[in-house]
Structure formats: C-alpha cells, structure tokens
C-alpha cells in the first residue's frame, strides 16, 4: 500500500535519505555549542523537512515550512542571537540523564504507536473517509474554489483563520511592546552619521561567529 502511493523503491530511497539527513542534522544541533552554526543548521533542518513534506504530497505544509522555518525563523533567530552571547555554555556529559531517558521512552512509545497508523494516503483511514470526504464532495457547489485547502481555510473555517491572523498580529504587537519598535536604533544612527550607507549591516558577516 505504501509503495503504491509513494511510487516504488526510488521514492522510498529518497525518503530514507532525507530522514537520515534530518537525523544527522538534529544530532549535530544537539552537540554543537556555536549559536550561529546551530541557527544555520536549524534552517537546514527546516529546508530538508520541507522537501520531505513535498515528497509525501503535503505541498502546502512543505511550502509553509520552507517559508517560515527556513526563511523567517532563521532570520529572527539570527536577530535574537545578536542580543546574547555567541556560544552556549558547555555542559557536563550525563548532566541531563533524566530528561534523556524520558525522551527515549516517549520516542519508543511513539514508534510503537505508528504500527497502528493507517498507511499513507489510505482512502479508508478516518481522516480521509470522514469529514475530509464531505468537504471534497460539497466544496465545488458551496464555494466554487478549485483548491479545497483554500476554501476550507478561508470559507468553512473562516473564524479559525481570523483567530490565526489575530495571533500573528498579537505576536508582533507583543514583541514590539517588549523590545521597542526598533526606531531608536534608526534615530541613533541618523544622529551619529549623516550618511547611513557607511554603517555596516547589523547582522554578522561570514566568520563573525567562529
């Protein structure tokens, strides 16, 4: 069933390769101490997982992951990194043995639970047979929008999306209220140097964090 959906061994090999890259990147993030490298690797992690989402036909999720995870949050984390130290404090090995055991146990339980999951793209799975099928059937009559994702997000669940939009607005408002609107640096720079073009960019150049 999985092979029929995913298109055979070639796709399965790409799947394994992408997941292996994700695993290696995650281990590297956990072991590194340089924050700049960690931020960059988290961007790599998002990009690889976006490629993997597209491989399993979740195009919208993959697109969002590439835009938000690889683009936006990498930039925001770079900005946040400038406000703190460049390297994390070294930790003693085995100092977090308890959390490690908890993570391991939860991971084993999750892997055990995946045995009961329906196969990818299974038409008789609850997600595809229930309300999802109803949306596919009534969508064209109700809205006339070809992309069901858009009509569900914007029309059927318009309240939900209004709430999400308000969340983004509130997040921007909260960050701006906590950290200031960023205009102080603009005013400061303008006061100090009449030519703003001579000011170096405020984000580290290559080699800044090594």
């Amino acid at each position: 069933m999985t092979d029929a959906v995913l298109g055979g061994t070639g796709t399965a090999l790409i799947n394994i390769l992408l997941l292996a890259i994700l695993f290696v990147v995650a281990i590297a993030i956990a072991r590194l101490r340089s924050l700049f490298a960690i931020v960059m690797l988290s961007g790599v992690y998002s990009l690889v997982s976006a490629a993997w989402y597209i491989l399993v036909d979740a195009v919208d999720v993959g697109f969002t992951e590439a835009a938000v995870g690889a683009g936006m949050s990498t930039a925001v984390l770079l900005g946040a990194m400038l406000l703190t130290a460049r390297t994390a404090k070294p930790e003693k090995p085995f100092s977090r043995l308890g959390p490690f055991i908890v993570c391991l146990a939860v991971g084993v339980m999750l892997i055990y639970a995946t045995i009961d999951l329906p196969a990818l793209g299974d038409p008789s799975s609850p997600a595809n047979a229930g309300v999802g099928l109803t949306f596919l059937e009534v969508n064209w009559y109700d809205t006339g929008v070809p992309n069901v994702v858009t009509s569900v997000l914007a029309s059927y669940r318009g309240f939900d999306t209004l709430g999400e939009t308000a969340v983004v607005f509130t997040a921007g408002l909260a960050v701006a209220l906590l950290l200031g609107f960023g205009e102080r640096s603009l005013a400061e720079t303008l006061r100090r140097s009449p030519q703003p073009e001579t000011r170096p960019p405020s984000v580290p150049r290559d080699g800044d964090a090594t």
């Binding site: 195009v59 919208d60 697109f63 969002t64 835009a67 938000v68 683009g71 936006m72 930039a75 925001v76 900005g79 946040a80 400038l82 406000l83 009559y141 109700d142 809205t143 006339g144 929008v145 070809p146 992309n147 994702v149 858009t150 009509s151 914007a154 029309s155 318009g158 309240f159 999306t161 209004l162 999400e164 939009t165 308000a166 983004v168 607005f169 997040a171 921007g172 408002l173 960050v175 701006a176 906590l178 950290l179 200031g180 609107f181 960023g182 205009e183 102080r184 640096s185 603009l186 400061e188 720079t189 303008l190 703003p196 073009e197 001579t198 000011r199 170096p200 960019p201 405020s202 150049r205």
Partner: protein
C-alpha cells in the same frame, strides 16, 4: 571601505529581491488554484524585507519601509479581515458568511470569491506587517547595546 567586500552579494540581492516580491504576489493571487496562500505570501514578503536589511543595512530598509508602516499594516490587515465579517452581518447574514455579501442564494459563488480574496489580502497585510515588526524590534536593538556607545 567595508562595503566593497560584498559587492557580489549586493548585486545578486538587488536582482533577487524583485523576483521574491513577484513570487509573493503570485502565491497570494493563485492561492485559490494552487499551493500556498496569504500566510505564505506574507512570510515571503517579510523575508524579502529581511534580505534587504541583511545586505543593505537596517537603516536603509527602515528608510524604505518605516517601522510605523509595518505595524500599521499589521493592524489594518486584521481590521480588513474582521470588516468582511461585519459587512456580511450588515447585509443580514452571519459573521463571515460570504454568501450574504452580495445577497446570493446557496450555490452562488461571487460572494465566496470576493470574500476569500479580501480576507486573504487582510491576512497578507497582517502577516507581512507583523513579521516585519518582529524583525525590526529584534534587529533594532543591536545598536544600543554596544559598550563603547555609553
């Protein structure tokens, strides 16, 4: 002159930023028929702004797109979205009931199309403005923590 080290970066970014903006609007206006939608388009717009500030400096970006504009845009976006709901209510429908926008019977699609396009514009404004505000707030603090400035 420090900027000369990055001339390739500047030239490439100058070519890329308009393409990124066009792509953002493509995603925005093809949300009905393809992958993506206003959330993604808003993020891509904000990323174009961030790329500009990484390459040309925060001050140049703040002169092009001032911080008061981004936070205002974010608020206007939420108002546009909520306003569509009020518009439907004024026409006698439920909140955000797009059929009521043009008094259509069930099965009519004009109100759905118009409503979805308008609320997606609202989402685009809110997301791009909100994320740019977050970036400005984070990046704008750097100048004031240098020790030699105090």
């Amino acid at each position: 002159m420090k900027g000369d080290h990055h001339i390739i970066l500047r030239v490439v970014a100058k070519c890329l930023i308009p393409l990124i903006l066009i792509y953002a609007f493509y995603v925005q206006f093809h949300g009905e028929v393809g992958a993506g939608g206003a959330f993604q388009a808003g993020v891509v717009l904000a990323v174009a702004l961030i790329l500009h500030s990484l390459v040309f400096g925060l001050t140049a970006t703040m002169r092009a797109v001032p911080p008061w504009f981004t936070r205002g845009l974010s608020a206007v976006g939420v108002l546009v979205y909520a306003g569509v709901g009020v518009w439907a209510m004024l026409n006698g429908g439920a909140y955000l009931e797009y059929q009521a926008l043009f008094f259509e019977p069930p099965g009519g699609h004009d109100g759905q199309h118009a409503g979805i396009i308008i609320i997606e514009l609202g989402v685009l404004f809110a997301v791009s403005g909100g994320l740019s505000t977050i970036f400005y707030a984070l990046a704008g603090r750097v100048a004031e923590i240098r020790d030699e400035d105090w």
